[in-house]
Symmetry: C2
Subunit: 326 residues, 2 copies
Amino acid sequence: MPELNPDAELLVGVDLGGTKILAGVFDSKLNLLGTYKMSTKPGRGPDGVIERIARCVEDAVDECDGKLSNVKAIGIGAPGAVDTAKGVVLFAPNLDWHDVPLVDRLHKHLDVPIHLENDCTISMLGVYEVELKGKPKTALGIFVGTGVGGGLVINGEIFRGFTGCAGEVGHMVIDVNGPKCGCGNRGCLEALASRTALFQRVRNAVKEGQSTVLVEMLGKDLADMRSGDLRKAIKKGDKFVERIVDESARYLGVAVGNLANLLGPEVIILGGGVIEALGAEMMHTIEDVAHDYAMAGALEGVSIVASNLADNAGITGGAVLARRKR
Amino acid sequence: MPELNPDAELLVGVDLGGTKILAGVFDSKLNLLGTYKMSTKPGRGPDGVIERIARCVEDAVDECDGKLSNVKAIGIGAPGAVDTAKGVVLFAPNLDWHDVPLVDRLHKHLDVPIHLENDCTISMLGVYEVELKGKPKTALGIFVGTGVGGGLVINGEIFRGFTGCAGEVGHMVIDVNGPKCGCGNRGCLEALASRTALFQRVRNAVKEGQSTVLVEMLGKDLADMRSGDLRKAIKKGDKFVERIVDESARYLGVAVGNLANLLGPEVIILGGGVIEALGAEMMHTIEDVAHDYAMAGALEGVSIVASNLADNAGITGGAVLARRKR
């Protein structure tokens, strides 16, 4: 990472998730100087989590030998519906938060401008501005992690629609008679291709007697399974895990085909933890299936790529937001 | 219809379909003065069809006592992929056309400016400019007829995306294991909710011994079945037809929910022959199911309505295009 000029302006991006908080410190040119990761501990309630966010920011700044007084602004992505103007998290199911005035309360710990955004929107902002250099007029991001989220750029701007919540690709129904989704419906992309869905299929099969090296690796209850474990299992030649991962890739391919037909984006970029861990295993299938499902011309000249920002998309977008609004 | 000033400027919109050609004559304020309908007879080949389009335009102008010399421009919607700049129909499966220079060849019959557009795009243009008065910034049209097509308005403009063919809602996969679609995939909205799909389900059930008043109305082979016959059957208390139509409405509801989640439009407007004939039977179910499938907030303040332009959306859009470009 670049060395820090002790008086340089700093920008901080925070990716607040249900499991972990990731804070990243950037210079004004959006070079990443350092990161710090902390578990979220949502069970401690909003104030407990907010205190941890503040500590995570301080530790990230300290980690790269910076000074908190040089931080010009912070951008935070939260996993749910947000009121960006008021800085309020309206609803975040993974945190069990309702109407939490995150920005106001965080100001008690950190005396800098703080800006809030939805986590997928902020990831798309990071991917679009830093990875795609703001070039394509129309771009779509699909972020595959615990859930599946999306972000949409139209005419060079993050697109929110009339309702303010456009870009929700995770609850596009692809298999109307498919498995139940957390949202209550059936066959949403999230219920078919998220890490949660992937792990559920693995666990169900193992319960029914399926043998897999995952059991040798993690024990019979598959405790602490991570996406990377699936990659390792595939590398060890586990055909069962390969098939389960391929199934998820196929569903993502159908979704990419649908979205190409609907939106005709120039770039479709896939990110999130599952793609970071399993992109090499999944991207070919995603592309092939997308081409099967796209109408004539709907993928002509269109790039379907894995984001190389990986898990840093959220903090990068946070820094972009901080720079815009500092 | 308004009376015609003999020297007034006229605009003509043409809706070229696989079955029929509809031409409409409008004044410069987009009041409809008269229409003429003719069968397409695609079996006669492109030149035969183009000669019929010319005749249909002449007959429509004559029908409302106008003069061809007062026609300032013609806008045509064709059922397939078009090159609007060159006036070429690239591919129209229902007509079996490939690379037909429609505008050039039509000029041999009609010496006025002629503009070509995709049929769903042109219908959306008509609905947006005339029915919605160009007011919503974001709007989505779903046209349910022989197939299912769509049109998208974003920031007040018809949205085509990078690929030029955005707005293709008919091939959004909703039931990945569902019935085969004409496009080769399974479970596209078109394969579930188009008139073709509706009639197929009726015919299959009747073959398997299902009794229905449709057989009394149309004979055992259900010859010349139309969407309106299904409405009549429902009015006669035919529970089987009611269930089949309700199934289609449910699939359309899922699609509307998906699209609200993705695009957050202010208005979602349904049109086409099936909605014209069966809107009263279908719209409530479409709305209810859409609300079941939309995320929190994704339909807040959003109108889901049936177009009252009905079968005239295409010719109205043609006149809008003609007025813009005359």
